[in-house]
Amino acid sequence: MLVVDGLVKRFGGFTAVNNVSFKVDQGEILGLIGPNGSGKSTIFNMLSGTFPPSAGSIRFAGTEIAGLPPHRIINSGIGRTFQIPRPFRRLSIFENVALAGYYGQGSHSRSKADEAAERALAMVGLPTDRTASVDGLGAAGLKKLELAKAIATGPKLLLADESLGGLDEAEMDQAAEMLRKIRTELGITIIWVEHIMGVLMRVVDRVMVLDHGEKISEGLPSAVSHDPRVIEVYLGTDAHATQATAAAAAAAGSDPARR
């Protein structure tokens, strides 16, 4: 459903993303990993229209969306979360999500927006009462709110940027579970950026690895976590690699849905 071809982003003289091409299929969860500064968030920013690509094409559900303004892209069915949560503190939790429901789907119906907000909040497990304030949320709550906002826009494709950072183990598991649920129950395709391999590798169908703005590896989690280049630049040699491999292996064994 998403076809990216030759995507490039330059900041001044610096090339953050260099000629990256990839595809995402309907209903899959693609893991996007890579060292810090390798261009993951930048790719998200281009996919969601936060800034236009310097070159390349992005086709979503058959139409070219590269360079469109963000609200058009969101309306066409791409939702995103931010790596560092960006809640609207002057609105209540419910209003935050209802806003996304109202504008995100482009339908501009108040009742539909409220409905969408309630569904999204229930999905991530946040209170659905209308006045609860954002200030009461901790790190985990804010991440959930990010997800709820993204879901409320009614996406076909969800871009999740580091949904786990700053969460404790129990919450991470919850979050991973949630992503899975989003995919299975809502049928939403997901691209997921994450540094916590133990969790990521368990959930994703396929992994793509970036380094210095270039794609260096792509494939099944188990394969990628054995790729020596990936180990060198990203996983490091010890525990993580083994953890990742183990997770991937475990997942492969337990999940019949995987091809």
Binding site: I84, G166, A170, V233, L235
Partner: protein
Amino acid sequence: MLELRSIDAGYGRFQALFGIDLDVKAGEAVGVIGPNGAGKTTLMRVISGLIRPTKGSISMQGTDVLTTPAHRIVSLGIAHVPENRRLFPRLSVEDNLRMGAFMPEARARYRERMDFVFDLFPRMKERRNQLAGTMSGGEQQMCAIGRALMSDPKLLLLDEPSAGLAPVVVQQVFELVKRIRAGGLTVLIVEQNVQQVLQVVDRAYLLEAGSIRASGASADLLADDSIRQAYLGV
């Protein structure tokens, strides 16, 4: 080296810490773990003077921290890498590092410290003129740690240093913590990554809902079943 006695602290009417007692001895690495919202960050802020406790006492190598003005606490040898990095986004990397060496004591050794930090994080040297706000999350974390090290501290407070870092960098950070310790620096570190932090610290405190629930040597905590259940997901 650092002693906290029955600290109460909070934000306005909201109390976040209840009667905290905590010790860090010279040369030790101590961890603080606990769920979200337990008050870990608050604890760090109290030590570095960003917020003042409502009750209790803190001393650093015999000096009363609470009577020391906030901006003099760095001079006692306490450096704090705050949660979420908190860099100066529109200053260059180099200027951020320079801010870390603001104290008169540190200025004299500016070059030397700078080389030390660049050694530690070659990426920072590469990006020394980039505005800190435009760097990736991981790069910013490096910069924040580097900035704290610029003051040549005796005690380094790290608040979730591994958050958002690539696994290879997380390893580097923890190795770094080890190296820093080897250099005689004392470290107090807050982490979600319990598994790994317990491998680098000597002792740890478990904080829950603003009180210390448990404490002890890392090995003991790692062996404790209830902790393994709650925090290691095992």
